[in-house]
């Protein structure tokens, strides 16, 4: 003990400003929930949320432009705001902004979450035109967690961030307006499995602490190889940390939650999860395996090989027999997580591969936009029971709504990685980085998995354009301004990144060249 005095921590508020803004807005949102009358809440929440996200994005850009990228961690070594972190913050904030536009649609969310499905309470809530407006502060808390997660420079902060990110999401998943039981089931499943995996993460953290005597990522890195006879602690600890993180990105064999949760959650929330959570989780994976375990890569890389191969294969193969559009997209997301893992493997080695890092960053941008766009289209295809999820209902959509079906087909082609879409350059960058890192067999598996995946993407296109529409097929909901903006924005991003990728590639290069702070 230091004579009983506690030194006040130094905190670089300017560096953390984007995060603080988001959390501050979330707290204001809670106050709005508490004090504003019900009829006013939504009209306060929506601009508040959008402004907070836009402001956070501006602050992030200012940070990157004005101050230059800091080379030491902030907040007593707990948070590292470095090049990749700023880039990832940028992606998360933009995607969250876009998703918020999608969330701003009353058809998505339950009138009163506490009412038992099918009960008279629920009917009354619907009749009164209630809307569950807690969605917005919950979203902001979750986004705050997402920002902290990839920037956390010690394991404890990372764990806190993981929970701050996840807890609101568990709740949001249960708020679907239609098929409420499915939604609540998804919520509970996600919560149980998420807690289970968090426990792995915690246990792994404890073991690694036992080995290195520190939870600081840099301290762990410098402890590697200096502690004799304790290797078993390290290896088991690393494995369990890995399990916690791989669960969040939905890598096999920890992918089981993804289809169920993606299907059950309100589609706008699925869009948010599928894009931003994946980005944040990959940021965290990169930080742990790059900063703390970079010198251990000879050991974790082979295991990661197995996980990546399994993830790509399982994602691509199981997607083939899916009949529900959101489940199919969930498996597609699993396969993409596998493709991204090949990039993570390519970053391994002490002289780390900056090219692989920039490839992953570009991939995340490309995939994030296409995903939000894809789910936005899903929200628009509806029939009497809400969204028409079953694939057979999508038959002949190209004849009814050629523009919408064309755009969706375009997103699918981007997922498949067809040239002139953003997906092509994403895959090209990741795979070529993996080849450069001597992971050729992995790339071969990746390409085969892409070919299998192309089958089910194209199958949907065939279904939409070359099948006769069903007589009682779904109608296309008149989209809200927000939804059309999302679709247009995502389509534009997918085209621009596919034809004119250079600016974003350069930006990713620049971010990657600043490297993670070690």
């Amino acid at each position: 003990m230091n004579g009983g005095t506690i030194e006040a921590p130094t905190i670089e508020y300017a560096l953390l400003a984007p995060m603080l803004l988001i959390f501050g807005a979330a707290v204001v949102g809670v106050l709005v929930e508490a004090f504003a009358p019900r009829y006013l809440r939504k009209s306060i929440h929506v601009p508040l949320t959008l402004l907070a996200l836009a402001g956070g994005f501006l602050l992030t850009i200012l940070q990157a432009v004005r101050e230059g990228v800091p080379t030491t961690p902030a907040a007593m070594g707990a948070v590292a705001v470095d090049g990749p972190a700023l880039f990832i913050w940028g992606i998360i904030l933009v995607l969250a902004f876009v998703s918020t536009l999608l969330i701003n649609d009353d058809e998505q969310f339950v009138a009163q979450a506490a009412a038992v499905p099918g009960s008279s309470d629920e009917e009354a809530a619907v009749r009164h035109g209630y809307a569950q407006t807690e969605v917005y502060p919950l979203l902001l808390f979750s986004v705050g967690g997402m920002l902290l997660f990839p920037a956390a420079n010690d394991l404890l902060v990372m764990f806190v961030a993981l929970e701050v990110m996840s807890l609101p999401l568990y709740l949001l998943c249960g708020l679907a307006r239609r098929r409420r039981l499915l939604s609540q089931e998804a919520s509970v499943k996600y919560f149980l499995l998420g807690s289970f995996s968090s426990a792995f993460f915690l246990y792994g953290m404890a073991l690694v602490y036992g080995y290195a005597g520190s939870i600081d990522l840099r301290a762990i890195s410098s402890a590697l190889g200096t502690v004799a006879g304790q290797d078993i602690l390290l290896y088991v600890g690393v494995a369990l940390l890995g399990v916690g993180l791989l669960f969040k990105i939905g890598a096999a064999p920890f992918q089981a939650w993804k289809p169920d949760v993606y299907q059950g959650a309100p589609t706008a929330i699925t869009a948010l999860m599928a894009s931003t959570v994946l980005v944040a989780a990959f940021g965290a994976v990169l930080r742990v395996f790059w900063v703390a375990l970079g010198n251990l890569d000879w050991d974790w890389r082979p295991v990661m090989w197995g996980v990546a191969i399994l993830t790509m294969v399982v994602g691509a193969i199981v997607a083939i027999t899916q009949t529900e559009i959101k489940r199919m997209l969930a498996y597609s997301s699993i396969a993409h997580a596998g493709f991204l893992l090949t990039g993570v493997i390519a970053t391994g080695g002490p002289e780390q591969n900056q090219e692989a890092l920039s490839a992953i960053l570009f991939y995340l941008v490309a995939y994030g936009f296409a995903t939000v766009g894809g789910f936005a289209v899903v929200t628009m295809v509806r029939d009497a029971g809400g969204e028409a999820g079953h694939l057979s209902r999508w038959a002949g959509l190209g004849k009814r709504a050629p523009l919408l079906a064309g755009i969706f087909a375009f997103f699918l082609l981007a997922f498949a990685g067809i040239p002139l879409t953003s997906g092509f350059f994403g895959k090209y960058a990741v795979f070529s980085a993996a080849v450069a890192a001597d992971a050729l067999p992995l790339v071969v598996v990746g390409v085969v998995a892409s070919a299998i995946a192309a089958f089910f993407y194209v199958r949907v296109i065939v279904l939409m354009f070359f099948s006769e529409p069903a007589a009682d097929g779904p109608s296309i909901a008149m989209p809200t301004v927000g939804t059309s903006a999302v679709v247009a924005l995502a389509a534009a991003a997918t085209v621009v990144l596919g034809v004119f990728p250079e600016p974003v590639l350069n930006l990713a290069d620049q971010a990657a060249s600043a490297l993670f702070i070690r």
């Binding site: 690393v238 369990l240 939650w257 050991d299 027999t321 350059f425 960058a429 250079e502």
Partner: protein
């Protein structure tokens, strides 16, 4: 011999915004296609404006280029990185590309203006202008790109525009078929071009013209260079309707006449010549490939001329003539730096006089209720004087009447060929004689002799919007050749882009500019024209084509080109597909379906793991965690 100048990268100045040349017509096409019916009222003017805008940018760029020292006149303008580490898209502004750009935008704008009148009765005029703009943009991309990828994108773009415009009246089955035929035949050539580009990439590791200099090309083996040359030539043959891929051009006349003038006479079909000249570094190091180029050129110039002799359809006659003239250009392009300036010069003058005659033919058709059979024309001179006079100027230019445009450029090619190889030279002279015959025949059948009009024909002169382009093109047909060729002006202008020939490769200058070859050519042309006068000017022309000799039938049937294609390619192709289908059903499908069934089955089984029970998910996570721990311990040797 002097090699081309080095390509320097460019910044600033008007040249820096020369990408507007491509962007403006592309924007026009986008507005007209996406705008739909809303743009019907003003769409054609917008299209014309975009084309004129591109022309203005081209002129300003040209003037700025002229202001530079000759060895500074190859400017590379990087636009953006397209495929990381492989291709950066950019524009190469040099004397060669700017010559093309001026031709494309200049003649293109005139044809846009003409089309305002020609298509005035068509419901789909807006769509027509959209396609025309698309074509101009793609063609400019083709010639202005600083690498083979951009060139290829433009190459495919003009192919698409050509397809859309040949089939513009798609309600006519013949037009739809002709469009498909053009597309499919071009596929063969594009395939060659594509493999040629692949070969260049694997051999030299770059596709940028700046990297593929003569020194670099010289490092590869001659075999490789010959292969590259022949593959590029195959591409050029497809686009430029050279033997053996000539068959589509005659059918392509199904398109509206301005299209025939712009795409299938003045610009697109000359892309092959551009490709050969632009790839000079490869061809000059591969004499075999060059020889093949000249042989293809000579064979096509004769074949086109023979076909032209027998056609009664005025547009098909002109199409045969186009084939033939491009044959001359190909011949010139195959002669190396000595021939380049004449080939490109002939290309430019031909762009003027052929566009002039096609538009003239369009004017005649406009007057004659879209009749194309020359046997139904006759004695049109008095009723449409402007059309007739401008057409005749074009006619005199193409047959090489002394002092007119075609005389200088064609004579240049013939003389250089004669100097290079006597046989090629004399065959080219023979082709010129045939040109004299068939073009005279066309003029006499159309404008002179007796009226053979259909009963309901009331020919009249076309409106001013159509005749003014004719007049401007006719002026170009008169003076452009002399301007380019006298004093080697054009050769010196082009030299930074394509190099200068060794003096030994150049024919001796003649005292009065007239040598043996020129005299022989003039004599043959005069004989051909005289023969045509006796057959078609002085004598009665039957309104229905009479039964003809074997030779005429041979020519009327396009030298049995289609029959040959059918017998050699289509039927065996059908057999091949049948055999392939058989084996596909029996062999390949078994494998593929088996594989697909295997994956599908695996998928079905794996899917059952997804039980929906959260406890089994947790169990799978537990097993997975155990596996990861075990694997890491195993790898870590603990």
């Amino acid at each position: 011999m002097q090699s081309p100048a080095e390509i320097v990268s460019h910044a600033g100045g008007v040249t820096g915004v020369s990408w507007l040349m491509i962007a403006l017509p592309l924007f026009g096409a986008a507005v007209l296609l996406l705008g739909g019916r809303r743009t019907n009222a003003w769409g054609h003017f917008f299209g014309v404006a975009m084309s004129l805008g591109a022309f203005a940018v081209a002129v300003v760029t040209f003037v700025e280029l002229l202001g530079l020292q000759p060895e500074q006149r190859r400017r590379d303008i990087g636009l953006f990185e397209f495929i990381p580490g492989m291709v950066d898209l950019g524009m190469l502004i040099d004397p060669l590309s700017i010559s093309f750009a001026l031709l494309i935008t200049g003649v293109g704008s005139l044809i846009h203006i003409y089309s305002v009148g020609y298509m005035s009765h068509d419901r789909d005029r807006r769509r027509f202008f959209a396609y025309l703009n698309l074509f101009v943009a793609a063609m400019l991309l083709l010639v202005l790109s600083d690498n083979y990828i951009g060139l290829f994108i433009g190459w495919e773009g003009v192919g698409l525009a050509s397809y859309l415009l040949i089939g513009f009246w798609q309600h006519k089955p013949s037009a739809a078929t002709a469009a498909q035929k053009a597309f499919i035949v071009n596929r063969v050539g594009d395939f060659g071009l594509l493999i040629g580009i692949f070969t260049i990439w694997t051999t030299f590791g770059s596709l940028a013209f700046a990297d593929l200099t003569h020194e670099v090309a010289g490092q590869a083996s001659e075999g490789t260079l010959t292969a590259i040359g022949l593959l590029l030539l195959l591409g050029a043959c497809g686009k430029s309707a050279q033997l053996p891929l000539q068959s589509w051009l005659l059918d392509a006349m199904e398109g509206p006449t301005p299209v025939s003038a712009l795409i299938h006479a003045a610009t697109m079909v000359t892309a092959g010549v551009y490709l050969v000249v632009r790839s000079g570094a490869f061809f000059e190091a591969a004499p075999t490939a060059q020889l093949v180029v000249t042989i293809v050129g000579v064979a096509t110039l004769l074949a086109g001329a023979i076909i032209g002799c027998a056609k009664d359809d005025i547009k098909k006659g002109l199409a045969g003539s186009t084939m033939s003239q491009i044959g001359y250009m190909m011949l010139g392009a195959g002669l190396g730096p000595a021939g380049y300036a004449f080939a490109i010069g002939h290309l430019i003058t031909h762009g003027f006089f052929k566009a002039n005659m096609f538009l003239g033919a369009g004017s005649v058709m406009h007057a004659m209720n879209d009749e194309v059979d020359m046997r139904r024309y006759g004695a049109l001179f008095p009723v449409m004087k402007i059309t007739a006079v401008t057409f005749i100027v074009g006619y005199l230019a193409i047959i090489g009447f002394p002092l007119l445009s075609g005389y200088y450029t064609k004579e240049g090619i013939i003389e250089t060929a004669m100097h290079h190889n006597q046989i090629l030279g004399w065959l080219a002279v023979l082709g010129a004689g045939l040109t004299g015959f068939y073009m005279s025949r066309m003029v006499f059948m159309t404008f002179f002799g007796k009226k053979r009009w259909a009963d309901d024909a009331h020919p009249h002169e076309s409106p001013a919007v159509m005749t003014w382009p004719l007049i401007i093109l006719a002026i170009g047909s008169i003076g452009l050749g002399a301007f380019l060729v006298l004093g080697n002006r054009f050769m010196n202008f082009l030299s930074p882009a394509v190099g200068l020939p060794q003096p030994a490769d150049m024919p001796e200058p003649h005292v009065f500019g007239v040598g043996t070859a020129a005299l022989a050519t003039l004599a043959l042309v005069a004989a051909g024209a005289a023969f045509a006068w006796f057959r078609y000017g002085a004598a009665e022309v039957p309104a229905v084509a009479p039964r003809a000799s074997f030779l005429t039938t041979f020519a009327r049937r396009d030298l049995y080109g289609d029959a040959l294609n059918e017998a050699l390619l289509m039927r065996p192709g059908q057999w091949l597909t049948r055999i392939a289908v058989f084996f596909d059903n029996r062999g390949v499908d078994g494998l593929v379906n088996g594989l697909a069934a295997g994956i599908g089955g695996t998928s079905g089984r794996l899917r059952r793991v997804q039980t929906g029970f959260v406890r089994s998910y947790a169990l799978s996570i537990l097993f997975g965690a155990a596996a990861v721990v075990g694997a890491l311990l195993y790898v870590g040797n603990i």
